[in-house]
């Protein structure tokens, strides 16, 4: 039939997800970070929305973990670390003089690459944070532990053995316990630093399903080397290289039709 050339609007399954109207949670404004003379983050401008999973990906040494650790000021623990620029959470500069870093880390929970439960019981691992923050009554504490374990999709597997050592759990269960421990203090943001790199595919699937559930309530930020994992679970993806954000876009765009040649070369394995 007779035709006219035009570009058609792609069918986008995420179209109804209004990124424009999404609530901004974290904003990096011209942020730079140094470890001594090593300039690890350069001119980072980034807006991260609430109730989404945002992935930071890039080759080793690109600065993705440093960027993640800047959000809860974990870099403060590194000697000779200094920064310029701002990071705001809910429009408040987290490096401002009035910010209580312990309060900040309560709002911004973190889960690391290798599961790191305390050598205590399952119950006490989850109860640790709330106890520090003043919840001491047994019943109230038990409720927090149950809620956190349920949110971390672990309750059904451990509810009859809360007194057992956390170290008796499998790797995947230990990682979900660490997520439950982070959730117990009711954070707003969850930082996940390669949370599945030490896990088998089944445990990885469970953690990824958990991430998708968590984004309904929390802002989730994920650092991953695993491109397929970023593609599977994140809504937005930032590709980093040599301390800079090269491209930040909807995950589908990044993986199907990236704007930058550097991104294309990285995700198609044509790098280096």
């Amino acid at each position: 039939m007779m035709r006219n050339m035009r570009y058609k609007k792609p069918v986008d399954p995420f179209e109804e997800m209004s990124f424009d109207g999404a609530e901004e949670k974290i904003e990096f404004d011209d942020f730079n970070l140094w470890y001594g003379d090593n300039h690890v983050l350069r001119d980072v401008d980034l807006e991260i929305n609430a109730s989404m999973i945002t992935a930071f990906m890039g080759p080793s040494g690109c600065g993705k973990s440093s960027l993640l650790r800047s959000i809860n000021r974990m870099n403060d623990l590194i000697p000779e670390c200094r920064y310029e620029g701002e990071i705001e959470i809910d429009d408040v500069d987290i490096n401002g003089p009035d910010v209580d870093v312990y309060e900040l880390r309560k709002r911004v929970g973190m889960v690391f690459q290798r599961p790191n439960p305390f050598p205590t019981s399952i119950h006490d691992n989850v109860a640790y944070g709330p106890r520090i923050h003043g919840i001491t009554k047994g019943r109230e504490l038990d409720q927090v532990v149950e809620r956190s374990l349920r949110e971390a999709a672990l309750w059904d597997e451990v509810s009859d053995r809360l007194g057992d050592s956390a170290l008796s759990l499998s790797g995947g269960q230990q990682q979900r316990l660490c997520i439950a421990r982070a959730l117990a203090v009711e954070p707003e943001i969850i930082l996940l630093d390669e949370p599945c790199s030490a896990l088998d595919p089944i445990a990885t699937t469970k953690i990824e399903a958990l991430m998708r559930r968590l984004k309904e309530k929390y802002t989730v930020i994920l650092v991953t080397h695993n491109l397929q994992q970023a593609a599977r679970v994140s809504d937005m993806t930032a590709f980093m290289y040599l301390g800079r954000i090269v491209e930040f876009d909807r995950t589908r765009e990044i993986f199907e039709n990236p704007r930058e040649e550097l991104t294309e070369n990285y995700i198609t394995g044509k790098f280096g």
Partner: protein, 213 residues
Amino acid sequence: MSRPLDIGLSQIKTLLLKMGKLSRDAIALAIEGFHGREDVHVQTRAWSNTLLILSEEVEYVATEMIALHQPMAGDLRTLKAYIKIAYDMERYGRYALDISDILLRLGGWGEFEEGCLTVEEMGQRVLEIVDISLRLIETMDESLVWELSKAEAGIDELYLQNLSALVECEGVNHKTIIANLLTVRYLERIADHASYIAESITYAATGKRLELR
């Protein structure tokens, strides 16, 4: 250093070019057979079947590449385009077979008054557009997309003209009408698949979803 994915993509491209040559030959033979009332359906059937087998081979290699190498970005788009193009090629072959089957089904037909229909010109133009689509696959030269689009519009125009002529003709043997009607329809569909190939190549090369209609 070549990536395993490059080897697979190159393997598929070679298959597509082979399919392209085969389908082009099939269409040319079917058109020739139609105008000369020559029975060529055994040959076109054999080629059409080969195209089907090659199309399945493309799908097999592509699936293997998805399973083993998880292609992304340009690789993913190219692979998706190649799978669609293999189908378009298979359709080229199928329409060639359909044209050659007309003689088998009708046994023969008469002639229209000279100048009344432009089926011969349409056949020539269809071969040209098929050639453009094959050059597109080989070169991924986007400028050919515009050339193809123009050629396709011309074929559509001829199709509509022939359709009107067939509707309005009087005193013509019904087999003659059916034979020509089916042929112009099949030729028009071949041109449509050439457009789909252009859309696929554009998507693979640029990520843009083009619609040539």
